[in-house]
């Protein structure tokens, strides 16, 4: 009997993993030049997916069981066909989130957004003052315009979210942002800038600054109801603290790249997370069907089937290591060159800062 073809083998050994959440960089083109941009966005890639290729990608994601597709960039509203993608995603029964810098969302775009009932429209706001936000974003007048966009989104009944990426030059303005967002019905996600792309390591938060922000988020969660201020720390704000309660949306169960999360680059490259470097790419959906890439038993090996032995740094001795799997893979790799050893771990920092005994 002839042995099965490689494609058949992939089907037989179908992956038990499901890409619940997919982040799709629809274009690298951007109208801003943010100093912390992990993908150094600005100019579009040489060979970005066509409209038809994008629609086929949506079909494949639906077949794989995806629930939410986030369209991001670059700036996704710079693609003329963003609404075509968003509408197709909704027609396939999936949710769609638009991740934008907020500058190009005019009344016409808001009217179009209303027709697709997005899961969320996220706007990046990186400072409590124009001086800070506009400098980080490289766009004068952008903070005022972002808040105007947020007002119009909420007025139109579209779920709006602010994403704040904290770094040394803006974290002290979080209280000002809190005051502006309080009672507005806008979700607030706070994440840490990581030294990838064009973000310099010298501007990254120190251990103490990072912990101050975590403490701030914890305080907001305990002080305000979710209606007053629905705030959370993102996937690189943790983990397993022995002093603070959970500050993320869900309990941390380890990096989900290649497990329940997937990233698609605008040229069709596939990786578990868009923030991971090219070495973590699993291939390109132009040269191999996405289903095969996802279901390949050798794919995403850095996360699938990892054991406690894969932990690095001080995570090796942590009793939470098996569940946490060393925090954010991108942070770990960017700072240490190894996987599964994120040094920005609350549990670890609590020892380092002598907030608890070893």
């Amino acid at each position: 009997m002839a042995s099965p073809s490689p494609q058949t083998k992939v089907m037989i050994m179908r992956s038990p993993w499901v890409p619940v959440s997919v982040v799709w960089e629809t274009t690298l083109r951007c109208n801003m030049r943010c100093m912390h941009c992990g993908s150094s966005a600005g100019t579009m890639r040489a060979d970005e997916l066509t409209t038809q290729e994008g629609l086929t990608l949506c079909d494949d994601l639906s077949d794989l069981g995806t629930r939410v597709v986030s369209l991001m960039g670059g700036e996704p509203f710079l693609r003329d066909d963003w609404l075509t993608f968003a509408r197709h995603i909704r027609d396939l029964g999936m949710d769609v989130t638009m991740m934008s810098n907020g500058y190009l969302i005019d009344d016409a775009a808001i009217a179009q957004l209303r027709t697709i009932d997005p899961y969320a429209v996220t706007i990046s706001i990186d400072g409590g003052t124009e001086a800070t936000h506009d400098v980080i974003r490289g766009k004068p007048g952008s903070l005022t315009r972002c808040f105007d966009t947020l007002d119009r989104l909420t007025h139109a009944g579209i779920p709006a979210t602010v994403i704040t990426t904290v770094q040394r030059c803006n974290y002290r303005e979080l209280p000002q942002l809190r005051d502006r967002l309080l009672g507005c019905g806008i979700a607030w996600q706070i994440q840490m800038a990581v030294p990838i792309g064009r973000f310099p390591r010298t501007e990254m938060l120190s251990a103490e600054e990072f912990y101050s922000v975590a403490l701030f988020i914890a305080s907001l969660k305990q002080t305000y109801s979710r209606k007053e201020l629905p705030v959370m720390g993102a996937h690189n704000f943790g983990y397993c603290s022995q002093v603070l309660p959970n500050i993320m949306l869900f309990p941390w169960l380890g990096c989900q790249a290649g497990l329940s999360a997937l990233g698609i680059h605008s040229d069709g490259a596939v990786s578990g997370c868009l923030s991971l470097p090219p070495a973590f790419s699993e291939g390109n959906l132009r040269s191999r069907p996405l289903k095969d890439l996802w279901n390949d038993p050798t794919a995403f090996s850095y996360n699938r089937g990892t054991s406690k032995d894969a932990l690095s740094g001080t995570c090796m001795d942590c009793r939470k290591g098996a569940r946490c799997r060393g925090g954010c893979l991108t942070v770990s790799y960017a700072l240490t060159g190894a996987c599964h050893g994120d040094p920005y771990c609350l549990r670890r920092l609590e020892q380092q800062l002598r907030l608890r005994e070893k």
């Binding site: 038990p16 993993w17 619940v20 959440s21 982040v23 069981g65 629930r67 939410v68 986030s70 989130t97 991740m99 899961y119 969320a120 996220t122 779920p159 979210t161 994403i163 974290y171 002290r172 209280p175 019905g185 979700a187 996600q189 103490e208 600054e209 101050s212 922000v213 403490l215 701030f216 914890a218 305080s219 969660k221 305990q222 109801s225 979710r226 629905p230 959370m232 993102a234 996937h235 603290s241 022995q242 002093v243 603070l244 309660p245 959970n246 993320m248 949306l249 869900f250 309990p251 941390w252 169960l253 989900q256 497990l259 329940s260 999360a261 997370c273 002598r354 907030l355 608890r356 005994e357």
Partner: protein, 77 residues
């Protein structure tokens, strides 16, 4: 273990972002949210085992929506 040193250090860290002593004290985890987190973590792990590995935790990466702030985020953990 809570000590005077820990409290002082936390207050110092919180002061950087304008938190007063009462806000810092309130920010610390309590028996209520430790228990609630254990229950929710268990539910997530069970869901992951039965439905899909990792389950909805992949939603971390989408950018949160106001729609996510339901029971799981009512200040219980």
């Amino acid at each position: 273990m809570e000590t005077t040193d820990q409290t002082t250090k936390l207050e110092h860290l919180g002061h950087t972002l304008g938190l007063n002593a009462a806000e810092v004290a309130r920010a610390k985890r309590s028996a209520k949210n430790i228990i609630a987190l254990a229950i929710v973590s268990g539910a997530f792990i069970a869901l992951g085992r039965f439905l899909m590995p990792g389950g909805p935790v992949g939603l971390y990466y989408t950018g949160v929506s106001i729609k996510d702030f339901g029971l799981l985020f009512s200040g219980w953990f």
